[in-house]
Every structure is written in C-alpha cells, then in structure tokens.
C-alpha cells in the first residue's frame, strides 16, 4: 500500500499562546524547573558551551601539529590540551549530548507521558553535570591536567603533579549525572508509557535510549570506583594499582575499560536512535525491519559489556584472553552492520526529501560505516599490534564519535528544533553547513588513517617531518570543520527570534511528539493519548484530521 500524507498547510500557523517556554518567567523558573523540556534546554546550552571549549582545545592540538617541531606550545601544554579535549568532549559533551538534550526533551512525549518519572532527579542530574563541569574548569584554571582521558596508572597516580584529583572528582560527579539520567529513562520507559504503547510500538529512538541507559546504569559505577581508587592512590598511596607495592596496573585498565568500552556505545546508541527517526521520517516509510533494529540496540548493549579488553591487546593481558575478547568484539560489530543495512533499505521505495536532518543522517551512515569497519581492523588481534596507539585509532574514534554521534546529534537537533522552539531554522544555510561539516570532517580525519598506518603515534607533540603533509591536510580540514560547526550555532540562535513559525508537524512525522503543539505545553498532553497504531504508521497519520493546540 502506498500513502501520501497531506496535513493542513502549516505556513499560516501561529506560535501557541501558552507553551512550556512562556509558562513561567524569570531565571529561577528555569533553574528550579522540573519540566523535562526546560531541563533539556539547560543541557543544550551547557553542552554547547563545553563543545566549544573542547573544540578550542582541538583547535590548539591541530595548530600545534601543523609543523613537525613542537613550536607553538611546550610539550606539557600540548599534553594538557589533548587531555582536556578528550575529557571535555567525552564526559561533558558526547555522553550527555543526545540523551540529556534530545532524549530529555522528546522521550517522555514520544511514549505519551507528562514528564520523566523523576523530575527532581532529572534536575539534579543537570546540577551534577554542571558541578562536574565546574570541577573540570577548576582543574583547567588551576593549571590543567595531563593524564590523557584514559588516566593510565601508574602515570596518573605517581608520576604527574597536575590536578588529577580535581579532574577525577569532576568525572566522578559527572558520572553520577549520567547514571541518574539513565535511571530516569529506564523507569520512564518501563512505567510511564501511555495506554496501548506496547514495547513494539515504541519509536526506535526509545529502544536505543533504553539500551544506552542500561549501559549508563551498569557501567558508570565501575568507572566511579576505579577513579576513587586512583584518587586514594594519589592521596594516601593505597597501592592497589602500584606495581612497586604489589598492585597490578592492568587491574585499573580492566576496571576503566569495563566502563569506557560500554561508554562508546553510550555515545553511539542514542545517535542511532536519532538516525532511525530521521531516515524514516524523510523517506516517509516505516523503518525496514523494525524488530531487527530494536533488538540490535539491545544486543549492542549486551555484548558491549563483554569486549572491554580489546583496548588492552598489547598491554600484557594473556594471549588467550585476548583471543576471547577479539572474538567477542567481532560479534558486537554485527548488530551495527544490521542497523546500517536496515537504514539503507528504509529508503527503498520511500518518497525521499533531503532536508537538513536527512543530509546529516546520510552523512552519518557513510562516516559511521567507515568508523565502524576500522573498528574491525582494531579488533583483529594481529592488525591491532600495528595500529594501536597510532593516529589510526584517533581516526577510528573520531569517525564513530564525530562522524557518527555528532552528525546524529546535529541531525536530531535540526529535526526536533521546530518542536523545541516552535520555529524553523533557515533551510538553505543549514544545508550548506551540513555539506561543509561533511567535507571538513573527511579532510580532517581521513588523512589520519594514513598517517596512522605510517606509524605516527597518538599524543605526540612533535613528530618526524615526513608525516607533515598529512597533518597539514588534517589541520586544514579542522578549520573547515570548525566553521561548519559554528554555522549552526549562529543560525539556530538567529532562528529563535526570526525563524519561520514551524507549526505542529512540519515534517509530517508520525511520532506522538509531532501530534502536539510546538513548542509543547508544560504538561505535554492535555489528555494522555491512547495509542492504537504502530510506530511510523503513515496510514494512521494520513487519516489524522486535526492537530489541537491549547491557548
């Protein structure tokens, strides 16, 4: 069957008189709010700030690497730069990016709930996040930290006199923010669904948030304890990671990666959820193989817990154990492959338009696939010996994290922007930005695969001259990329005041969030909906008569 959805023309729409933004006024009404939508906005502002901060460090790193000599800054400063870059980008930007902003905003609406299960804990999450951010900035202002984001012991415990404990506190606190977000999501998804919203009617975005939340709840505490042990080791010398006292530094690696591998899936799964929504919406089709995509999220979360030691292949773990972890890493890649193909086939026989979210989503598909398959390189034991600790890894994780998750975040941000603010972003400018980021991205990070295979180690402040060409390309790309990222910040800000009024459902999408006014009411639904349709049911959408607005 085929469907054409025609909804009332929305160009004449007006901003609803009453919505969550103008419901209350004043700074305190934001800082003390329990409304998930407002908290999402708080998060959006704060993670944007930290993205700029992390981007600034990235810029310094790339500038230093323009020339082979370490001439822009001292080695110490450089080390602080990439450390702060990694910590800020991972813990203060990417982990909370999609879940805490987009997820926070649309997750309750998508399942037909009035709020998350624990609004106060949700607000607490944001405050913890901010506290983590302030500790990070404190560490920075006090003189910085140069452990690398991985905190390798015994370097971090005994051989550095920078602000490791401050940073550890920052990560500990920010970790609890992420635990509480995950906890809130899981409870909400289990307990707050509208009548009729069965598990297999949930939008795939919910499934992926659910999977990511499980990892947040189960993985983050292990990071917390390993960081506490590092801090104790530094302050009172308890010795569990100190080889001179009989401790095993590899134990730290086990504990750290037990969180930090699942963390990379915390960082990609929500993005995958966004992609499912966007591709389906702009193809005007149900996601191909809904159940396969849903279950693959859960499979990634589950198997993602079993593969952490692939970060330790050359670090002296047992060869036999390495075999097991390599095999499991291969298995965990399969569900991602399933997703990529399902997304591709969602477009088949669709009726595709190419608005900005779709452009970012298509960028995601290509870049994530490249990033993902290079993960296979790294998971293959003998290959990892050559590639590990080189720029190949740097390229791998930027492809999945920046090319993947960041693209997905931008895709989702543009997608839900009309819902969040009630206004459209400027379409042609944003398309231009999407193309610029794509080009800039490839130019920045593709050369790093090559220079990595040449052998250039990561975290190097100066490098042999023969690697310069590729590094120059990379720095040039980073400049383009930086411009590409600045554009949305500018025009999205502009659109807050001058953007066209969006109307309730500018994309003619099927999710519950599109059936209410934009921006939504504080309580989301005047009346809790009863769900009788599958997710992405365009037939149902086509027979929708009117979309009601209050006020």
């Amino acid at each position: 069957m085929s469907t054409i959805v025609t909804l009332p023309d929305q160009t004449t729409a007006k901003l609803p008189k009453r919505n969550y933004i103008n419901n209350e006024h004043g700074l305190m009404s934001w800082l003390l709010t329990g409304d998930h939508k407002r908290i999402a906005m708080l998060y959006l502002v704060s993670i944007t700030f930290f993205f700029l901060l992390g981007g600034f460090f990235a810029g310094m790193v790339r500038l230093e690497l323009l020339t082979p000599q370490g001439d822009l800054m001292s080695a110490d400063t450089y080390n602080k730069m990439f450390t702060m870059h990694g910590i800020v980008m991972i813990f203060l930007f990417l982990v909370p990016s999609v879940p805490a902003t987009l997820g926070n905003f649309v997750l309750p609406i998508m399942i037909g709930a009035k709020d998350l299960a624990f609004p106060k804990i949700n607000l607490l999450s944001w405050y913890l996040y901010m506290a983590g951010g302030i500790f990070t900035i404190a560490a920075l202002v006090l003189g910085g930290v140069d452990t690398g984001w991985t905190f390798t012991t015994p370097l971090s415990t005994h051989y550095l006199n920078t602000h490791v404990v401050t940073t550890a506190t920052a990560i500990f606190v920010a970790g609890f923010s992420s635990i509480f977000t995950g906890l809130n999501f899981i409870v909400t998804i289990h307990r707050m669904r509208a009548p009729g919203m069965t598990w297999f009617r949930l939008p795939l975005f919910i499934w992926s948030q659910y999977a990511a939340s499980i990892l947040m709840v189960l993985g983050t505490p292990v990071l917390a304890i390993s960081i506490v042990l590092v801090a104790l080791e530094r302050t009172i010398g308890i010795g569990v990671f100190d080889p001179t006292k009989g401790g095993d530094p590899l134990l730290f690696q086990h504990l750290f990666w037990f969180y930090s591998h699942p963390a990379v899936y915390i960082m990609i799964l929500p993005g995958m959820g966004v992609i499912s929504e966007v591709i389906s919406t702009f193809s005007r089709k149900r996601v191909f193989g809904y159940t396969a995509v849903a279950f693959s999220s859960v499979a990634i979360a589950l198997f993602g817990m079993f593969v952490w030691a692939h970060h330790m292949f050359i670090m002296g773990i047992s060869n036999y154990s390495a075999l097991v972890f390599s095999l499991l890493s291969m298995l965990v890649a399969v569900p991602s492959a399933i997703k990529v193909f399902n997304w591709g086939f969602t477009m088949q026989k669709g009726s595709i338009t190419f608005e900005t979210p779709m452009l970012y989503a298509m960028g995601f598909l290509g870049l994530f696939a490249i990033g993902g398959v290079t993960g296979i390189f790294l998971a293959a034991l003998g290959m990892d010996i050559m590639l590990t600790e080189t720029y190949f890894i740097v390229a791998h994780f930027h492809f999945v994290m920046v090319g993947g998750m960041l693209m997905a975040f931008l895709s989702g941000l543009h997608f839900w922007w009309p819902k969040m603010t009630g206004r459209m972003y400027p379409e042609s400018l944003s398309k231009f930005a999407a193309v610029v980021t794509f080009v800039g991205f490839v130019l920045t990070f593709f050369p790093q695969f090559l220079v990595g295979y040449l052998g250039m180690p990561r975290r190097y402040h100066a490098y042999p001259a023969e690697y310069q060409v590729l590094n120059v390309l990379s720095t040039a790309g980073a400049t383009v990329l930086g411009i590409g990222y600045m554009l949305p910040i500018l025009y999205l800000g502009w659109s807050l005041k001058y953007g066209a009024i969006a109307g309730n459902n500018p994309w003619q999408a099927t999710g519950l969030e599109w059936q209410i006014q934009s921006p939504p009411l504080t309580e989301n639904f005047v009346e809790i909906p009863i769900v009788e349709q599958e997710a992405y049911d365009y037939e149902w959408l086509a027979h929708q008569k009117e979309v009601t607005t209050v006020g």
Binding site: L66, K285, S351, I352, I385, G455, P464
Partner: protein, 349 residues
C-alpha cells in the same frame, strides 16, 4: 602570512609529490604478513562501504520525492535480514582468525632468537645486548636473525613501537614483556614510544639501525664495554651475597641455580612453573612467592635494592650458569670486586 604559509606549501609539494607518503617501508619478515592482512581488510571493508554508499545514493536518487511521490510501506524481510547478518559475520570471523594467527606469530618468539634487553624509563630507551653493549634511544640489530626483545619499564607504561617492522609491545613496570622480529633490510628506522608516558612522551623516540651481520659484528666489537651482562651479573651475585646460599653444595641454604633456566620446577604450593626470565626476576624480588618444593622461604627480598639493569645482569648470569664452578670460585675470593675476572670463555656471554 606569506612568510608562514610558503614553507608549508613548499614541503607539501616536495613531500607529497616525490615520496609515496602513505605506506611505511617493509623492513621485517612479518611486515608483508601484516600488510597483507591490512590490504585484505581495506579491500573487503572498502567493498562493503562502497556497497553501502551505493545503496544509499542509489535509493536517494531513485526514490526521491519528485521521482517517487508515493512511499510504499514495507515491513521488512527475514531473508534480507539473515543475509546481512551472516555475510558480515562470516567476514568478521574470517578476520578474527587471521588476526589471531598473526598475533600469536608476533608475540610468540621462536626458540632460537637472540635476546636483547630493553629498559624503558621516562623518557628514554636503554638497550642492553648480552655482550654488555649499552645504547640509549638506539637499537642495533643484524639482518636475518630472529631478535627477541625482553622489555621492562622502570616507571610507567611505555610502548616499544617499530612501525617499519610492524611490531609494537607495551613495556610495563614490574613485568617482562617480549616481542620479536627478523629484520630484512639494512637501514635506519623509527623507534617510537607509543604509550603516553608523561611530558616528553613524544621525545622518547630513537632509531633502529639494521646492519648486515658483518657490520653488526663490527659494531658489537667497537662498542663493547668489556663486561658482558653475565659478567656484571656475576659481580652482583657475589657482592649481594647470593653466592653465600646458592653455592650448589648439597648443604647449601638455597637451591642450586645452575642449569635451572628453562626447566620446569615443582613448587612448594603444588604447582609447576617454567623458569623463564620473568620467573628469575620475580624470584629475586618476591622469593616467598616462588618457593621450590622442599625449601623454606628464607631468602630475603631484594626489592628496592637492585635496579632493573642489575636484575637483568643477574638474570643473564643465572641463565648462563651451566655448573656451579664459577659460583664457588667467587666464594674463594674475599674481595667481591675481584670476583669477576675478565678472562674470556669462563662465562659464555
């Protein structure tokens, strides 16, 4: 600005156009194997990526709204689902097996390899050849010989990375790790520390100098310090008083160490252990965890009293002990610094 850009552009042109800057030289026997795996991975995944991209672009063009205004709802397809589960899985497993094979090849040294010790510390590499040649941030090796590196760190994690050889191994405190290679082409190659180890991590670099066997022999001769590692070890063995207990006599207070290396020991706690370099080192530092069957843990610990280099000397010495003749000789001499005569042939380097 002009001033700043032009050297960059200049370098860009010369380097990019004149050298093939995307492929490192192959300088060891294992390099072609690694490159083969790399190329296969690139090929297979490249095809996969091209397929995915073609799919997306193809659908995007074919089913764009102008060309295809009515979306046709499709539920899914179990057959397709199975296809793209099984095909990638098969490839992944294939590469798992290949990668594992290569890993074991790189990390299991052949029995006949010559051994060189490497000590890493912030921020330099020390190499010690059995003949007593020391070098810093350099490593001289002959072509055509299997060379095994036995490595340890004095402080933090480092990583010994030889990209042209396609090998790399973490150098960790408290434990020996090994890696091996067989260099094929004379020349000078990169040596990097690739595990972040603090401020001058990027300065912990050096050269591997690969020489023909003849040149290597020349080099060994010209850079010898006169004392082999084992001879150094003998001095320490006497000066630390090891020889007081490990005399090899039936009445000795400690077990006989001659010929012990490479054997299997029955331990007091019921396990059997192979006496490796690592075992010897641990036995000196943590003797009570390495008590052979029938002995009491009375040996004192030497933790904190012997440097990593000293431990290497001791290990080399114990490895070289075939009989207890030398041990007893040293006992006769009262002055420990006279204990190790330079006479060649008595101790096999």
């Amino acid at each position: 600005m002009q001033h700043f850009i032009s050297p960059v552009l200049w370098q860009f042109l010369t380097h990019w156009l004149t050298s093939s800057a995307i492929w490192p030289k192959q300088a060891s026997t294992v390099a072609p194997w690694v490159d083969a795996l790399y190329l296969s991975l690139c090929l297979v995944t490249g095809t996969g990526i091209i397929f995915v991209v073609a799919l997306i672009v193809g659908f995007a063009v074919r089913y764009r709204k102008e060309a295809h205004p009515n979306a046709v709802q499709i539920e899914g397809s179990t057959l397709l689902e199975a296809t793209w589960t099984i095909i990638p899985l098969a490839f992944f497993l294939f590469f798992f097996v290949w990668g594992a094979w290569l890993y074991f090849r790189i990390y299991n040294p052949p029995a006949d390899a010559m051994n060189i010790y490497v000590v890493g510390k912030q921020w330099m590499w020390k190499a010690e050849h059995p003949g007593g040649q020391h070098e810093i941030n350099q490593l001289h090796v002959p072509t055509g010989r299997n060379v095994q590196l036995t490595m340890i760190s004095q402080d933090v994690f480092h990583s010994y990375s030889l990209p042209e050889f396609r090998v790399k191994r973490e150098v960790i405190p408290g434990r020996y790790t090994t890696v091996w290679f067989n260099a094929t082409t004379p020349g000078t190659y990169h040596l990097f520390c690739s595990q972040y180890c603090g401020t001058l991590h990027s300065g912990m670099v050096g050269d591997v100098v690969v020489m023909t066997p003849e040149d290597y022999q020349e080099w060994l001769k010209s850079s010898t310090s006169g004392m082999s590692l084992a001879q150094n070890g003998e001095r320490i063995f006497a000066s630390m008083g090891c020889n007081q207990c490990h005399t090899g006599d039936a009445a000795a207070r400690g077990p006989n160490l001659a010929g012990i290396h490479g054997t299997k020991l029955q331990m007091e706690n019921g396990t059997t252990q192979v006496v490796t370099d690592g075992f010897l080192r641990d036995a000196i530092l943590n003797p009570s965890a390495h008590v052979p069957a029938g002995w009491k843990p009375i040996m004192p610990t030497y933790q904190g009293q012997i440097s990593e280099e000293g431990l290497i000397d001791l290990v080399e010495y114990i490895k070289s002990l075939k009989t207890n003749y030398r041990v007893q000789q040293t006992l006769m001499t009262t002055e420990s610094n006279q204990a190790a005569p330079n006479a060649e042939g008595t101790v096999k380097p």
